[in-house]
Symmetry: C2
């Protein structure tokens, strides 16, 4: 994977990079909106382009079940199926299967699980997950890993870590022994596990780098640990990872979490927060969150965020969007989602511009001060 470092921050580990895929280059730090089922919920590809979305995330588990691989293959892959011409990263399905508490059975071979739609039984092995992602045709595929919650005891974390490494090896084999189906190159990222245990994290990194992936993701965070632990593990991982490849922190996070991780050298992020919160009527602004259903906005003729250049803020008032939520007009879901996605894209774009200009710390501090911490800390 072609990768360039565009700037390194002098005061922190923050960096601006660019990596290249067959569907376009991606400038980092970058946030990837989540398009679980072949759509970033409520948005069309046109909406994504207009909000400067560079790359989206698709969910292997969900797409495998619906619409299923036959249709995706017949369509020529997910890009073509959903009409999105930009890069796509797909997760491995591991996290979703891990979330199906009572419906899974993990063995060395792989994981057996039942569909949350109809209870039918399915089996994911590391090799099968590569094969599925060949059919989906994502630009970047993730390896199958075993996710554990935090905190987990050392024994549990060690077992999951060892299995994840064994699967990583088999995943890479599967990747190298197979070919892309749609005439463009795909890449594969490894996932670092090891819970909150630095020794396991370090071993995980060394083994994954020995195997050799196109990029590395920090997994197993944002699943119950403290912010301090998350920052500390993130920092340790970044310091020990190759500096000439993308680093992705999975499932993070709040605007302030993202800035903390950028400061520590992370390039890529994904989270359902901007899209899910939007559908609950909670919108992000530089002054903190706005719960648009609240009565205080009933006659508020300001935009969701003053000075925001998104379609929603340029055309509609808080009073109007509150009304749409109040009467269950689905346009409200889309307008709030457009704003929140724009907010996250703008956050990472501004972080990049600050890194390029050599003033990242200044930007981060100003952003964090304006953003109301009280509102933020309960948002996950």
């Amino acid at each position: 994977m072609k990768f360039t470092i565009d700037a390194l921050d002098a005061e922190t580990s923050a960096r601006a990079t660019t990596f290249h895929t067959a569907h376009g280059s991606v400038e980092t730090p970058v946030f990837m909106p989540v398009g679980t089922l072949g759509a970033v919920k409520t948005l069309s590809p046109d909406d994504l382009h207009k909000n400067q979305v560079q790359i989206i995330l698709g969910n292997t588990y969900h797409l495998y079940l619906k619409p299923g691989l036959d249709i995706i293959k017949k369509s020529g892959g997910l890009h073509s199926f959903m009409g999105w011409s930009g890069p796509i990263l797909t997760d491995s399905g591991g996290f979703q299967v891990y979330s199906l508490n009572d419906l899974k059975k993990i063995t060395t071979e792989g994981v057996e699980f039942r569909s949350h739609w109809d209870g039918s039984t399915h089996f994911f092995s590391p090799e099968k997950v590569v094969e599925i992602q060949r059919i989906i045709g994502s630009d970047i595929m993730m390896v199958l890993d075993e996710c554990i919650s935090n905190p987990s005891d050392l024994e549990t974390a060690t077992a999951a870590h060892r299995l994840t490494l064994e699967w990583a090896f088999r995943s890479r084999q599967g990747f190298l022994e197979s070919s892309a189906l749609y005439h463009f190159d795909q890449f594969q990222f490894g996932i670092i596990q090891g819970g909150i245990y630095p020794d396991l994290r370090l071993e995980s990194i060394q083994r994954l780098v020995d195997i050799g992936f196109d990029g590395y993701a920090i997994g197993g965070l944002a699943v119950g640990e403290s912010q301090e632990t998350r920052n500390s593990i993130t920092q340790q991982c970044v310091k020990n990872l190759p500096q000439n490849q993308p680093i992705y922190l999975m499932g993070v996070g709040t605007p302030l979490d993202i800035l903390e991780a950028i400061e520590r050298g992370v390039d890529m992020f994904d989270c359902v927060m901007p899209t899910r919160n939007a559908r609950n009527g909670t919108v992000f602004t530089q002054q903190g969150k706005v719960v648009i259903r609240n009565a205080q906005y009933k006659e508020d003729l300001n935009p969701l965020e003053y000075g925001c250049s998104c379609y929603t803020c340029q055309n509609f008032t808080r009073a109007y969007i509150r009304h749409l939520f109040n009467v269950n007009e689905v346009l409200g879901l889309r307008l709030a989602t457009i704003h929140n996605v724009h907010f996250y894209m703008s956050l990472t774009y501004q972080a990049r511009q600050a890194i390029l200009a050599g003033c990242f710390q200044d930007f981060r501090q100003k952003f964090s001060q304006a953003y109301i911490l009280d509102q933020d800390k309960n948002e996950k």
Copy 2:
């Protein structure tokens, strides 16, 4: 209201006209998508502009209850509240109140009804409905009328007809004695009632024309009568109405119904059919309707309608849209609505072009032959 006749069809009563409002000119025949609660369901104003929507309809009853007049007034009227810069026509609320079977009480003075949201009691008089539409700031307001179902006996139809005429007189008085609130001219249309009784319809027209409105609507159709009766009443009304003012057939209808009425000289239409059907997953094509959830479309990589220039058909397959409906992604509702609204706009646009070119009958026959009658007849 400035009104020009652009072309008269030689073989039928079809005509192409243009009328002018402060928010733009409208070329007829024209279909007005229904924006009940300050939004054409699932669409943004941008979507409407891109589909060549010229004028939309707002519902006085619904807007009066939610968001309520205070917010609309404070916003500077409905155009500003919902971010729509084109013309708006508002109904009088009569039809909605009439639909609230057990929640209304009609007297000579007006109609008392209970909100379907919270059961609170409200009262609409002809004068009050004008006042409400002054606050909404629609370009064209409709008078309060009493709607009856078809068939109704002569006695019921006569009583409703007489009350509607009395209210029409008071409505016009209220209109002439009040002023626009937002520095642009508003217009007012009268509504012809009289059920299926030609004598009542004729008397209704004569009395309304004596009062003098800016345009005339044919009400009380598409509420249970046969197609033959609807066509016959429509024809009779159009023949007796002034030819130098717009003629509006309320609540119609299917694509074929609209062509029948255009042939008889109607200029304006509204109906929830394209938008409501879209949300149920039923889309219109020139070859009839497509129920997109049907299993036959599971792997269908064609667009909803071959050759259609709408955003949906230019970018997505039937298989993809079926998938969105299948997994309850609200993007599916919007994509189907975009197509259906585009279909209706295209239908009336093509009818106009055919009238201008002197080949309306040819167009109507070709369209009707291709459009599958079997599918159409049960669609209402």
